[in-house]
């Protein structure tokens, strides 16, 4: 059973998390009116066999969204980190 290291809570079973999908794309600004860029962002994504950066939320724990690096070929988590730009007040 996959385990994910939450930077805040430590190594936890994946059942505590909710998966959201590809984290490797750059999101258009909200004010960006270009349909093609929004279409590509929402509907198109790579499906790599190997290293994949993806969003998970620790819903049964700290509820923080994370960027997890997982090797999809062997289903092994390599790393996890806060999303870029998150301001932490520790």
């Amino acid at each position: 059973m996959l385990r994910i290291p939450c930077p805040h809570c430590g190594l936890r079973d994946y059942t505590e998390f909710k998966y959201f999908g590809d984290a490797s794309k750059s999101r258009p600004d909200l004010a960006d009116e270009d349909l093609e860029r929004w279409y590509a962002h929402v509907f198109l994504f790579e499906n790599p066999k190997g290293v994949h950066r993806e969003y998970w939320q620790h819903v049964m724990g700290c509820r923080q969204w994370l960027v997890v690096t997982r090797d999809t070929a062997v289903n092994a988590v390599r790393a996890s980190a806060w999303p870029e730009g998150v301001v932490r007040h520790d």
Binding site: M1, Q64, W65, A76
Partner: protein, 981 residues
């Protein structure tokens, strides 16, 4: 004439402890330490079932987990458990067992007639016979096939046993307490590491259980006892490792009944895992090898040496490898007349075997087993023939060894073919996973011991530890074991086929060599296709005794190597796993969490019938209104429309949004404006997904400059919360906003009806000015009995209405306070059914319309979208979502007011053919006391552009069609006079 008998001495059964049990009502006895299989054998019981397809008599093939034939039903007062291999049932007092699959009985089975029809029952016969004829053919035949198929009968009683789940975290997990497993575990004695050893048998020893060699037993027992002395080493017997999962996780079933628990599921995390799972002997392929009395030769040895049951006096062994020689010698020493046919011309063991009194016949195969219901003789063949008839009681087959690679292969590591043992062994395992013993091809006592010790040393490296324990003595030197190569076996098989008869490969599913050949002939060559087409390996034994023989035959037919042919995918569980054990404690009301509102107890005490809304329990209707929902909800609706009602809305999602950027944040989340919402006002808002589809609606109030109170639908509360957190963590981390879920922290109630304000004025006399002044969509907090009441004037029902929120612990107090104040106005509680129905009359969309397929425009809410950026704005204008023919919200009224409308009905324009996907569907239905008929909301191609026209609502499941008129979805008070009263 008896064949088998209990030996006067020997075995590890406890002769001081006799046990009584029954088979099909007949009383039999055995001893503690027996399995049901060994006890039945001791009682000379041979026919233990009938085969799956052909209903041929079947008996024991094996002594262990691989047993495919002797499946029994265990009958207890609490129910039946079918399909239990007799070899896996520990004998205990009062066991009540039944044989399976014979009508009227296993001994006299009418279904054996299937044997005569066997040419029709070849591979894929279902597909060829029943599916091709006509479209309806399969549907016609399926019930008959279903009744005839299967082995045991399923239980119809609820499983009342209790199961539990245990989580274990250990340093070292060793699967298998055989030679290699114990040798490995012993290396950890004194290390301080937490070691867990799992052994599926009730008697550890692995293949030593089939051996009589006292010297090796002594070495093993001494090592085993060293394990018992170390407090950090735990050995669990009767515990089967079922699956290997991600991240060093093994799931095992502890089958020891203890403390009122029948079984325990162990979920184990181990830093290091060793799989010493052993190897199973496989059968030989010759004609009628399924006859009761044909067993594996190692099984004969185990029955003799572990259980002291000699299966026969005249034993014919057939082998193609060296492992059968030990068995031959040990059985001869017990006084049996043993003949050993070796397919190979030479072996290093001939001399020793002859010395022990075994009649060794080289270059000889068994071609066919002979006998009626049990073995009486055999046809053997030396060289190229001719066939010779030899009499015998039992036949023991040794077709080679098949390492148990299941567990090590669960993570997708494909096993590799090993030339020296002519079988597959585990592939290259990832870090921290190891294999040792006969599963790797390290056969023989000395090799298995060394293999275990070396694996332990490699495991220790994880802790930078060195070995502390000296190596174990390896026992007597032994010659390496040889196995016949494929070309010899192919040559012999062609000779064997001349004997006719059926050559079985998979005993449980009745699959023969001919079936395998047919499948290949017909193009189902890939081993995965062959498996499904022939059903080989798909029984409860999952091909433990058949997969490799089939694979070798396919390889031969396709002129491939075994590696090229490949194995089928191994999946957990390794052996059948009780569903109850998987459920553990999560049964009945504990299957899912139950969410109760703060007012739950009150509802139960005041005549509410509760219903499940997702995980929530909510009042469905109250008994003051009626005894069943159909009559009650209409009475409740009417009461709200004419007087006043009180409903529990605590389950709605409530989110506290605070921060200097809260306004900006909500303005970007909702399609409509929230940044300029005045303090003290609430607004109905809709939010979209990024893809332009409606995510949720709710009412959000501004409590202060930087403080909002956001509500969501009950169903979407969790998703909206995650959505907001995603936006704040990932998309706009620079915004200074905090969101908190306060759904459980606040109770919520809806007070609705023409008399609502009067009830409020009576309940909060001191707050009269505040209440009178509160405008439509206004919100105000005021103090009440040392806590806060949040009062909002908004309406879901279309009546003059308020929502009141109070911290959860005070919920019942406020509820009762309102009911007391409302007595003179006949205030009554109303439930979910009427709550959900009132809004239909008012044309409010709710969960049934917000089903993640609809846009703002579809729901008639396009005007809500404001000219500012918001989530989902750009993609809500994509081609697909702005098509002219989209299905849009309409109201529907029956042409004949007496007909019933069914939710989910498919809509068609009047006059067109009622077939296919239609022009839309009905989303919500209710009785309308206002209009005195049923009414509905639906989504229709063309929407309100079709107002006034007739549509057909079809419900094909009940063959119903009714006519409806398309009307405005706002059936009641379109000007809103009641709302603004």
């Amino acid at each position: 004439m008896t064949k088998s008998s209990r030996l006067p001495n020997g075995g590890s059964i406890d002769r001081q402890h006799p046990i009584e049990f029954t088979l099909d009502g007949k009383a039999l006895s055995g001893f503690k330490g027996d399995t049901v299989a060994s006890a039945l054998l001791a009682n000379d019981r041979w026919v233990l079932g009938r085969s799956f397809k052909y209903h041929r008599p079947r008996g024991l093939l094996c002594a262990g987990v691989d047993e495919p034939n002797a499946l029994l039903t265990w009958v207890e007062p609490s129910g039946v458990t079918p399909n239990l291999p007799a070899t896996q049932i520990e004998l205990s007092d009062g066991l009540n067992l039944k044989r399976q699959n014979g009508f009227p009985s296993v001994d006299f089975d009418l279904m054996a007639i299937n044997g005569l029809l066997s040419p029709l029952f070849g591979a894929g016969f279902y597909y060829k016979t029943f599916m091709g004829l006509t479209k309806g053919a399969w549907m016609f035949f399926e019930p008959f096939i279903r009744r005839a198929a299967g082995l045991g009968q399923a239980a119809h009683q609820v499983d009342e046993h209790r199961y539990d789940t245990e989580y274990r975290h250990v340093d070292v997990l060793i699967v298998g307490a055989g030679i290699a497993g114990v040798a490995a575990a012993r290396q950890f004695v004194g290390s301080g590491l937490k070691v867990l050893v799992l052994e599926q048998d009730f008697k550890p020893g692995g293949e030593l259980n089939a051996s009589q060699d006292q010297a090796t037993w002594d070495i093993y027992s001494k090592a085993f006892n060293e394990l018992l002395d170390d407090q950090n080493i735990e050995i669990k017997t009767r515990t089967t490792a079922m699956g290997l999962y991600d991240d060093q996780c093994v799931v095992a079933l502890d089958r020891r009944q203890a403390n009122a628990l029948k079984e325990r599921l162990l979920i184990i995390r181990a830093r290091s895992i060793l799989m010493a799972t052993g190897a199973l002997e496989r059968p030989l392929t010759f004609a009628d090898n399924d006859l009761p009395g044909v067993l594996l030769s190692k099984a004969l040895a185990e029955y003799a040496h572990r259980y002291a049951v000699l299966a026969g006096r005249q034993i014919l062994l057939a082998t193609q490898n060296d492992t059968a020689y030990d068995t031959a010698c040990s059985l001869a020493r017990l006084g049996a007349e043993v003949t050993l046919c070796d397919a190979r011309a030479t072996s290093a063991h001939h001399a020793l075997a002859r010395q022990a009194g075994v009649n060794v016949l080289p270059d000889t195969v068994v071609a066919r087993a002979l006998g009626g219901k049990t073995v009486e003789g055999a046809l053997i063949l030396t060289g190229a023939g001719p066939f010779q008839h030899v009499p015998c009681d039992v036949i023991g087959m040794s077709g080679g060894l098949t390492p148990c690679v299941h567990l090590s292969s669960h993570q997708g590591i494909k096993p590799q073919f090993n030339e020296s043992i002519q079988a597959f062994v585990p592939g290259t395992l990832p870090e921290h996973q190891f294999v040792a013993g006969s599963v790797t091809g390290a056969l023989g006592f000395g090799d298995a011991l060394s293999s275990g010790e070396q694996a332990a040393l490699r495991m220790m490296a994880q802790w930078s530890m060195s070995p502390r324990m000296a190596a174990l003595p390896k026992g007597a030197e032994s010659t390496p074991l040889q196995f016949a190569k494929q070309d010899l076996l192919v040559e012999k098989l062609s000779l064997i086929r001349r004997a006719g008869g059926k050559v079985f490969v998979d005993f449980q599913n009745d699959v023969t060599l001919n079936d395998v050949a047919s499948a290949v002939d017909e193009g189902y060559e890939s081993i995965e296709h062959l498996k499904r087409y022939t059903t080989l390996g798909m029984g409860t034994d999952q091909g433990k005794s058949s997969n490799l023989n089939a694979l070798m035959h396919v390889a031969h037919l396709r002129s491939l190597t075994p590696s090229q042919t490949g194995t089928t995918t191994y999946r957990p569980p390794v052996v059948p796993l009780t569903v109850g054990a998987i459920a553990g404690r999560n049964v009945g009301r504990h299957f899912r969490p139950i969410r109760r509102t703060p007012l739950h107890e009150w509802h139960l005490q005041h005549g509410a019938t509760m219903t499940e809304a997702g995980l929530w329990l909510r009042p469905w209707f109250y008994d003051w209104a009626g005894s069943d929902v159909v009559s009650a909800y209409v009475v409740e609706m009417d009461h709200v429309r004419t007087k006043v009602g009180l409903s529990d809305v605590s389950s709605l999602g409530k989110i506290d949004v605070q921060g200097p950027d809260a306004a900006v944040f909500l303005d970007q989340v909702y399609v409509n404006g929230f940044a300029k919402l005045p303090v003290g006002k609430a607004r109905y808002g809709v939010m979209l997904h990024d893809d332009g589809i409606v995510l949720d609606d709710g009412t959000t109030a501004r409590l202060a400059e930087n403080h909002y109170f956001l509500t969501t639908t009950t169903a979407q509360a969790a998703e909206v919360m995650s959505h907001l957190e995603f936006l704040l963590d990932v998309v706009w981390p620079q915004l200074k906003v905090r969101v908190s879920s306060i759904t459980d922290q606040w109770a919520g109630m809806s007070l609705a009806g023409p008399l609502a304000r009067q009830v409020l004025l009576k309940a909060f006399e001191e707050r009269a000015a505040l209440i009178e002044a509160l405008p439509f969509m206004g919100v105000v907090d005021f103090e009440f009995e040392s806590t806060t009441v949040r009062l909002m004037r908004l309406s879901f029902s279309g009546e003059l209405a308020y929502e009141l929120y109070i911290p959860a612990n005070f919920g019942i107090a406020l509820w009762e306070h309102l009911l007391h104040a409302g007595q003179s106005f006949e205030l009554k509680p109303y439930g979910l059914e009427s709550l959900a129905s009132l809004r239909i009359e008012k044309g409010h969309v709710a969960g049934l319309e917000l089903d993640h397929r609809n846009t703002l425009k579809d729901l008639g809410l396009a005007r809500m979208a404001k000219p500012k950026p918001f989530i989902g704005k750009v993609l809500s204008n994509r081609e697909e979502l702005v098509r002219e023919d989209r299905w849009e919200l309409v109201g529907l009224k029956p042409v004949d007011p007496t007909v019933k409308i069914r939710g989910g009905s498919i809509l068609f324009y009047a006059g067109e053919r009622v077939a296919g996907h239609g022009r839309g569907y009905i989303t919500s239905v209710t009785a309308s006391p206002t209009l005195n008929s049923q009414i509905a909301l639906g989504l229709l191609e063309g929407g309100l552009r079709r107002q006034g026209q007739t549509v057909i609502a079809a419900y094909p499941l009940k063959n119903e069609q009714i006519e409806l008129e398309v009307v405005s979805p706002v059936f009641l008070d379109p000007e809103g006079a009641r709302l603004h009263a």
